[in-house]
């Protein structure tokens, strides 16, 4: 990638995605994400936000185009090496996707256990994280015993517990009250300040204004419009966090 900017964490080049033989849900999507950036992905329902996030958290391969993540070609990367890349990403799924037979504690501990962290090093961080999201007294509850908002907080705690290099969140504040939404956003910002690249898909325009240093990607019918010009690939100039606005 001779024309790639130095230090990009994600690079999409002319990416297209179609499911089966249907029309493309994403067309000619090109952008670059830099380490430490805070990005909002907006767009109407059906614009392709979730599909784009699926490509970002490696749940899907594109139909065409090139994707580089953490310096690796995500298209040609052998399947056995995908888990290592995925462990560098935290994901908040739109529908939470908590493991139904595991308690809130075990759901949050899951990424650490998958990564092989010793059990004695799991208990405290997980308990602290659950306390932070206000679920200290619900840590033994199963997902079915939690409200939608509580499930969402567990999902967020699970996504950030292992301090991922990139956090991808699909409508993370959709089911929580405004106070909790702000609190969660502050968590994302805190992670971002620690160096985590954050990508949040949302249609909540109020949320966009709460993170002053964020960049906005707007999807419209599967095409990416870049109101700031900061995300365009190849980038005209590498843009560190906050410079675009």
């Amino acid at each position: 990638m001779s024309n790639a900017a130095e230090g990009e964490i994600v690079q999409f080049d002319n990416v297209g995605l179609r499911y089966g033989t249907d029309r493309e849900v994403l067309s000619n999507v090109s952008f670059t994400l830099f380490p430490g950036g805070f990005y909002f992905l907006t767009g109407a329902s059906g614009a392709g936000k979730t599909s784009l996030l699926k490509l970002l958290y490696l749940a899907q391969r594109p139909s065409r185009g090139a994707i580089r993540m953490f310096g690796s070609d995500a298209i040609t990367l052998p399947r056995e090496r995908l888990p290592a890349l995925r462990r560098r990403i935290g994901v908040v799924f739109q529908e939470f996707r908590l493991v139904s037979h595991l308690s809130a504690f075990d759901n949050v501990a899951l990424p650490l256990r998958v990564a092989g962290v010793a059990e004695r090093e799991i208990t405290k961080p997980v308990a602290d994280m659950l306390e932070w999201v206000g679920l200290a007294d619900r840590m033994h509850a199963l997902p079915a015993q939690l409200s939608g908002g509580e499930q969402q907080r567990v999902a967020i705690a699970r996504a950030v517990i292992h301090r991922p290099e990139m956090l991808v969140a699909d409508e993370p504040t959709g089911n929580v009250d405004p106070d909790m939404a702000v609190k969660l956003l502050r968590l994302f910002e805190a992670l971002n300040r620690l160096g985590t690249t954050v990508v949040v898909a949302t249609h909540d325009v109020h949320l966009l204004k709460r993170v002053p240093d964020s960049l906005i990607m707007r999807l419209d019918k599967g095409r990416l419009s870049d109101p700031t010009g900061a995300l365009r690939y190849p980038p005209r100039v590498p843009r560190p966090k906050g410079e675009a606005r």
Binding site: A59, Q60, P83, S100, L102, V114, G116, E165
Partner: protein, 301 residues
Amino acid sequence: MAFSLPRFVSRGAEAELIPQGRLSGPMPWVIAIMVALTVIAAAAGLAFSNTARSASDALTGGITVQIVNANPVERDRQAQAALRSLRATPGVVEATLVSQAEIDRLIEPWLGAPTAEGAIPVPALIDARLRDPVSGEMLGQLRRTLRDVAPAARVDAQSTWLKPVFSAIGTMRWLSIALVGVLAFALAAAVLLAVRTALGTNRETIEIVHLLGGTDRQIARVFQRAIGFDAAGGGAIGLALGLVVVLLLGKQFGGLGAGLVSSGALGWLDWILLALIPVVGVGLAMFTARQTVIRALKKML
């Protein structure tokens, strides 16, 4: 970030990933039945092998000489002459004249107790043992030798009489081996079906673990362990059931008192082999589970 060989540190946590109940169901009982049947089939195979080996050892160098003559005096004379001639023949290590009392005991079930008057003439019998296995050439030589001293002598290899029995025993032994093979295949098929069902039931969990960075090996290990526990429990029950049946059958056959049947008794090595069947079953079940899961996961991203 360095890529280390992934594993779940806590065995408990690993086991929790897929709820055990969703995987086991009737599986331990299916495995118990398979193992019990395999133990019985293998025990039968081993018993047939022992019978064949024992009979073969006993009969390989054995010949029987019959002196067929209705005149008891002449019969005795030729029998003594044949006995002397056999003992003098190189390659014959032992020759014994079967006593009249023994002959009477052997034919009693068919002809009844012998009476002093008008007894049915029965051939005199010489039981001889050669140093080497009986060959056609050796038999021919013995016949020629005995023709001069005992014209009424008929020489036969003992193994010839039991050839159909050996053939039947061999068939039964192969049948037992085939049955063990079929049961192993059926066990693998049952595990494959159970794992596929469990994979379908737990698809959502597996996808989540994948997206969190879980590897195929980690997921396969969870299934492998769960099936391993099922197979170990089922195998122990199956072994116990199988051994009870084998012991009961052994007792019944032992009660027949027939030499050929009692020679098929299982030795300590045979019992160890039978005890290893559930261990092999557990290994086969775990291997099948692992292969099935790995193959299925390869279809996922």
